[in-house]
Symmetry: C2
Subunit: 244 residues, 2 copies
C-alpha cells in the first residue's frame, strides 16, 4: 500500500508521499511515488501514485514516452495548455495501460487498480489539483474540498479534516501533512519512510522545496516525538469522563 496527500491552498500546493510498496507482507520494497514534470517559468506538475506498482510505473513511463509527439489523442504532458489537459494526458496513459494489461491481470485474479494525484500550475492557468481513478476519469479539488488522499488514507484523514482550510499557510499544511503521515505510519505497516515532500508556492512556476525526508530528518523527528507528547497533554487536559 502507500499513502499520498496533497492540499490546494490560497498560497499554493503541498504534496507528500511515502515510499513503501508491498506485494504481500514478505515482499516489501522502497519505490518513490512522486514524479515531477517541471519547466521553470512555464509549468510545475507533481504526480503521485498509489495502487498496483506495475501499472503506475507504466503510466509514468508512457507519459515520458509521449515526449516526441504526444499520444494519439493529445499533447505531451509538458505541452498541455492547462492542468485539465494535463490530467487528460494522465487519464489517457491509464487507459492505454488498461487496454494492454487489464485482461492479463484479470486472468491472474488481479484487479486493475491504480490512483493518482496530479497538481501544479501551468503558465496562464491557476494552481489546480486533480485526483485520477483507475478508469482514467478524474475530479478536481475546490475551496470546499481542498485536499486529496490516495492509498491508506483513513488513518491520517481526521487531522487534515480538522486543520486544513484553503487559507492555511504552506508551512502549516506541510506540518499537518507530516503529522497525518506519522499517524498513518504508526498504525499501518504498509506505509513507510523515506517521504517525498514537494511545496509549490502559487504563481512561482518552480518548486521551492523538493525534499526527501528519512528517519534522520530533524524536523520530522521533532514532529513525531512532540506531536505524541502534545496529544497526551491535550488528552490529560480534557476533563475526565464522568463514567468509569
Amino acid at each position: 500500500m502507500t499513502y499520498c496527500v496533497a492540499t490546494l491552498l490560497e498560497e499554493g500546493i503541498v504534496f507528500l508521499s511515502d515510499s513503501r510498496t508491498n506485494a504481500g507482507i514478505d515482499n516489501i520494497s522502497t519505490f518513490r511515488k512522486m514524479t515531477v514534470f517541471e519547466r521553470k517559468g512555464d509549468r510545475v506538475l507533481v504526480l503521485m501514485s498509489a495502487g498496483n506498482l506495475a501499472i503506475s510505473q507504466s503510466v509514468v513511463s508512457l507519459l515520458w514516452a509521449d515526449r516526441a509527439t504526444g499520444d494519439d489523442d493529445g499533447p505531451f504532458i509538458m505541452d498541455a495548455a492547462n492542468l485539465y489537459e494535463a490530467a487528460q494526458c494522465v487519464g489517457r496513459a491509464i487507459r492505454t495501460v488498461h487496454t494492454r494489461d487489464a485482461a492479463a491481470l484479470k486472468e491472474h485474479g488481479i484487479d486493475f487498480s491504480v490512483s493518482f494525484i496530479l497538481g501544479g500550475q501551468i503558465r496562464g492557468d491557476r494552481p489546480r489539483l486533480f485526483q485520477l481513478y483507475s478508469a482514467g476519469n478524474f475530479i478536481e479539488a475546490s475551496a470546499e474540498t481542498c485536499y486529496f488522499q490516495i492509498g491508506e488514507s483513513k488513518y491520517g484523514k481526521p487531522i487534515i479534516d480538522r486543520m486544513v482550510r484553503p487559507e492555511t499557510t504552506l508551512r502549516d499544511a506541510a506540518k499537518c501533512a507530516l503529522i497525518s503521515m506519522d499517524s498513518t505510519i504508526r498504525s499501518n505497516l504498509s506505509v513507510g519512510l523515506p517521504l517525498d515532500l514537494a511545496i509549490y508556492p502559487r504563481d512561482t512556476l518552480a518548486l521551492t522545496q523538493r525534499r526527501t525526508i528519512g528517519a534522520d530528518d530533524e524536523y520530522f523527528q521533532m514532529v513525531r516525538s512532540r506531536w505524541g507528547s502534545a496529544l497526551r497533554s491535550a488528552f490529560q487536559d480534557l476533563p475526565e469522563s464522568p463514567w468509569g
Copy 2:
C-alpha cells in the same frame, strides 16, 4: 458501516459502539450494535457487532434462542463456564447462520461478512476480550494488544494506538474511545449517533455504566468541541515547518 471499540484494561473493560447502519447511501437507519448478557454476581458479557445487519441480528437471536438447552454442541451463552466457551457459543451461532444463509447471499452477490467483539467476565474467570470473524473463529486481547475495533476502524485507530495501555484507567479509556468515535464520525458518514457506552470494572460482575449518548450529551459535546480546539492549540504550538 459501523464503528465499535473495546479496550481491556487492568481496571476492567470499556465498550463503545455507534448505531448507524446503511444499505446504500439512501438507506440509512439506526440500530443498536451492543447486546448485554448479564446475571449480576455471575457474569457480564457485552457483544458488539459490525457487518451485515441481517447476519448479526440472526446471530444474537440464535444466542437467545439457545436459552432452553444450548445449541447442539455446547451450552447456552448464559451457562458458559468461562469467556472462551462464551466466544465459542458466538462462533457456533455465526456458523449456524452461515450454513443457513451464505449460499443464498452468494446468489445475490453478497459476501457473508460479519464481525463481533465479545468481552466481560464470568465468575471464576478473569476479564477477557475476544474478536470474532465471519468464519466463527476468534482471537483474544492481551497486554500487548489490549483493544479491538470492528467496522470503520482506521480513522479512530491512531489516537488509541497513542493513548491506551493496559494500565490506562477506565475513565481515560472511555474518554479516548469517545475521541476515537468523534474522529470517525467527522470523517465517515456511515458512522453516527447515538452511541452505546458500557463500562465493566474488573471483578464486579455487574456493569456500572450502560449509557446511551446522543447529540445532547453534555460530556460528549464538551469532548467534541474541546478536543478540536486542543488539537488546534497543540498544532499551533508545534514549531513551524522549515519548508514553506
